[in-house]
């Protein structure tokens, strides 16, 4: 079952189209990466999912229902730009958001205390938020998002502003949520986090979807890079579209950077080399990272 489904969703602000014909679905369980550069339309899409914004056209389903505040009982949301009531205590803040999500006072308090313990905030539970460091404040905000043990957790750029230690803690939390059956959707433009966390992902460029699938699918979407060490240029081999000399080595051997024609995989070239007795000293396939995929899919000239 899909916990989140967008069908041909368009969002325009006057003449500007922020989200253009966006369709995708997120199955229940696991971690879904919502990836794209700045201004790609990630935050606008998430705001439509949360009913903070309404789509111009298209339909959205959240947990099987149209977006509305009724869903907030099963939703957890951590916005990109975070803030808290400075004079409220840590405990009151988390309980307040729990109550706004429809929890009873006692249940909200119990859950808030559990999260405060989980995030090592017990000594500050009754302190005003303005006494906390930025990292601790972000933990409080995360606790406020998770206080209702949500089925669907939406994290908008959750790692921005966090130090490496807190980034690790947050990654652990995301994995823990997924293990406990929640579905986590998070947006980011830092591919290392996506690489470590996402089961499935969607790349967004200028409001349009440019890819949706698993990590391996994403890597396959970008042609692999091949390097070969040979005396003769491999430009004449079938399936090779481009060759450049990367380095001249000893005894006439050269390192070649080889580009492949569409639909040609490195294995095909290796097979041809063997069949034609093409002398080789090294044959290395460089698998693309998500960073490469991101640059390729989301870079200039992609999307609109």
């Amino acid at each position: 079952m899909a916990v989140l489904m967008l069908d041909r969703v368009v969002k325009r602000f006057g003449e500007f189209t922020a989200v253009d014909e966006l369709s995708f679905s997120v199955p229940e369980g696991g971690v879904f990466g919502f990836l794209g550069g700045n201004g790609a339309g990630k935050t606008t899409s998430l705001r439509m999912v949360l009913d903070i914004l309404r789509p111009t056209t298209g339909t959205i389903e959240v947990l099987g229902k149209p977006p509305s505040r009724e869903n907030s009982t099963q939703l957890g949301f951590l916005p990109e730009e975070r803030g808290l009531y400075r004079r409220m205590t840590v405990l009151d803040t988390v309980v307040y958001f729990g109550r706004l999500k429809g929890m009873k006072r006692d249940a909200a308090r119990k859950s808030a205390m559990a999260l405060i313990e989980r995030f090592d905030l017990v000594p500050w539970a009754r302190q005003a938020v303005d006494k906390l460091s930025k990292g601790m404040s972000q933990k409080v905000q995360l606790a406020a998002a998770l206080v209702n043990a949500p089925r669907l957790v939406i994290l908008d750029e959750p790692f921005s502003g966090l130090d490496p230690l807190n980034q690790d803690i947050l990654e652990d939390v995301v994995r823990e949520l997924a293990r406990n059956g929640s579905t986590v959707v998070f947006s980011t433009h830092i591919m290392q986090h996506a690489e470590r966390l996402c089961d499935r992902m969607l790349f967004l460029a200028r409001g349009r979807k440019v890819f949706e699938g698993g990590q391996e699918d994403a890597r396959r979407a970008v042609p692999a890079r091949l390097t070969m060490v040979s005396r003769v240029s491999p430009i004449g081999l079938p399936g090779v579209s481009r060759v450049s000399l990367a380095e001249s080595l000893a005894d006439g051997w050269n390192l070649w950077d080889v580009g492949l024609a569409p639909d040609v995989v490195p294995g095909d070239i290796l097979e041809i080399c063997t069949a034609q007795s093409f002398p080789l000293r090294d044959f290395t396939v460089h698998s693309p990272s998500l960073h490469d995929v991101f640059l390729r899919l989301v870079g200039p000239g992609n999307g609109r």
Partner: protein, 497 residues
């Protein structure tokens, strides 16, 4: 518990737990108490000591008598006002003031003195004062004649003047304690006949009213002397002097007239001022809270849980509760002051509270106070919803406050001087001013249809204002950067979601 009430509770706690809120709340009753005490202290100056050296032997008694008559006239006015305010009829002495202050001529004062004067009247009203009424305090004498040590007052004016410098710096024992001499009057032997002037020395303090009294009385005595020289007997000159013009001044009934109007208007007018003061204080807190939510990027988290209209109504309900707390707290203070204190506070507060003797007036006072509070609060909320900093908000707030405050202050003045004025009536039908205008006019004669009509108008305006504010909230809450222009604000308000 609905989202609206959860937000309202938080808003209420946010304001009600600040020191500023409680300082404002306590400041008003404390300020009233302090001003009462200051007034009382200021109204009790030390008596001024004077002495008369009458070389003619004919005028000193007449001058002293004038001072006494003026004192008794003032005492009669005060005891009459006290008896009227507390509805006391203390037996035969009440006849002295039964015809009202316009009849306090010298003959009436003579009769009052003959009945025992203000001391006797004070004892009589205090014997009849009802429970809760403060004790009537006999007014303090303003001027007191003292005799000089013998031997000082039989010289010529130059010699007399020479010894005064010492007297002006020496304490002289008087019934009210040691005092320094403030005024010395030297009446020459041939006053009235010769050209020698009456001489007066002062110690430098302002005793002009006493000098004027002395001058008028001496002039009167000189005129009597002149008439005597022309053959008129002393009795005849006194008779002519005291001739009273037969006329009847019809005063308004007790509690009526301008004084009564002012007393009855104290509570409603105080509410107008308090509404302004409260709005300035809590409105500032509200604005700060709203801007905190915007600048802290809190709104997105909130809007993921509640709709913009729930957020807005939550804030309004919270604010309404703050307004209600204020009015209830001040009402409790007023009631406590009336029931426990017997000072001047109760002298003013009791009759003004007793003007609110009909339940609908009390209900209307609360309604207009709360509706005024909500109308202005929504303006603050609107400003807060488009601004990201207090500095930005100030640019909007200043003109708005001027537009609200100046007409309201003019309205208060008009409501007392001319309650039925066209200005006050017109203001009653301009929704933003209606609560202020109706509060100010409520006890000065508004019709029930005016109350019903303006109440409906105010409710309609609050409804419209909340819709427009809701649209502004929805359109602008998550916007950042420069605040929108007035035109775009109007456009946002006109747009349905």
């Amino acid at each position: 518990m609905s989202s609206v009430s959860i937000i309202a509770t938080r808003e209420y706690r946010q304001i009600a737990t600040t020191r500023g809120f409680w300082i404002t709340l306590l400041l008003v009753p404390l300020a009233i108490l302090a001003s009462t005490l200051v007034t009382r202290l200021a109204a009790a100056p030390r008596d001024v000591v004077y002495t008369i050296v009458d070389m003619s032997g004919r005028y000193a008694a007449s001058l002293d008598r004038r001072v006494e008559v003026d004192y008794q006239r003032r005492g009669l006015s005060e005891v009459a006002a006290y008896a009227q305010a507390w509805r006391i009829k203390p037996g035969p002495i009440a006849a002295a003031w039964s015809d009202g202050p316009s009849w306090y001529n010298d003959d009436r004062i003579d009769r009052f003195i003959a009945m025992g004067g203000v001391e006797a009247a004070g004892r009589a009203v205090n014997a009849h004062r009802p429970h809760g009424a403060p004790e009537f305090l006999t007014p303090q004498r303003m001027y007191r004649d003292v005799a000089l040590p013998s031997g000082l007052d039989d010289g010529d004016p130059v010699a007399f003047g020479a010894v005064l410098n010492r007297l002006f710096q020496t304490n002289i024992p008087t019934p009210s304690g040691p005092r320094t001499l403030a005024l010395a009057i030297y009446i020459p032997k041939d006053f009235g006949a010769g050209s020698s002037p009456v001489r007066m020395w002062t110690n430098g303090s302002s005793v002009t009213p006493l000098i004027d009294t002395m001058r008028e009385e001496l002039a009167r005595a000189a005129r009597r002397d002149a008439l005597g020289h022309d053959g008129l007997s002393t009795e005849e000159t006194y008779r002519v002097e005291r001739l009273a013009v037969p006329m009847q001044v019809i005063d308004p009934p007790a509690g009526g007239g301008r004084d009564g109007l002012i007393i009855r208007s104290i509570v409603p007018l105080a509410l107008v001022y308090l509404l302004l003061v409260t709005m300035m204080t809590t409105g500032g807190m509200l604005l700060q809270g709203m801007i905190e939510e915007r600048s802290n990027k809190l709104l997105e988290s909130l809007l993921a849980c509640v709709s913009p209209s729930e957020l807005m109504y939550g804030k309004l309900v919270g604010l309404g509760a703050v307004g209600l707390t204020i009015i209830l707290f001040w009402a409790a203070c007023a009631i406590a002051a009336v029931s426990t204190s017997a000072g001047i506070v109760t002298t003013i507060l009791r009759p003004s509270l007793s003007a609110l003797d009909q339940p609908w007036i009390v209900a209307a006072l609360i309604f207009y106070f709360l509706s005024g509070y909500l109308i202005i609060s929504m303006i603050y909320l609107a400003i807060g919803s488009v601004c990201s900093s207090i500095q930005e908000a100030q640019a909007f707030l200043m003109p708005v406050m001027v537009v609200i405050t100046l007409p309201v202050l003019a309205l208060v003045t008009t409501s007392v001087s001319n309650p039925g004025s066209m200005f006050a009536k017109v203001m009653s039908w301009i929704p933003i001013y209606t609560p202020f205008a109706m509060l100010a006019r409520l006890v000065t004669g508004v019709t029930m249809s005016e109350v019903q009509g303006t109440a409906a108008l105010v409710l309609g305006f609050i409804w419209l204002e909340s819709i427009l504010l809701g649209r502004l909230f929805e359109a602008n809450l998550l916007n950042t950067g420069q605040p929108p222009t007035l035109v775009s604000v109007i456009r946002m308000m006109g747009r349905r979601s």
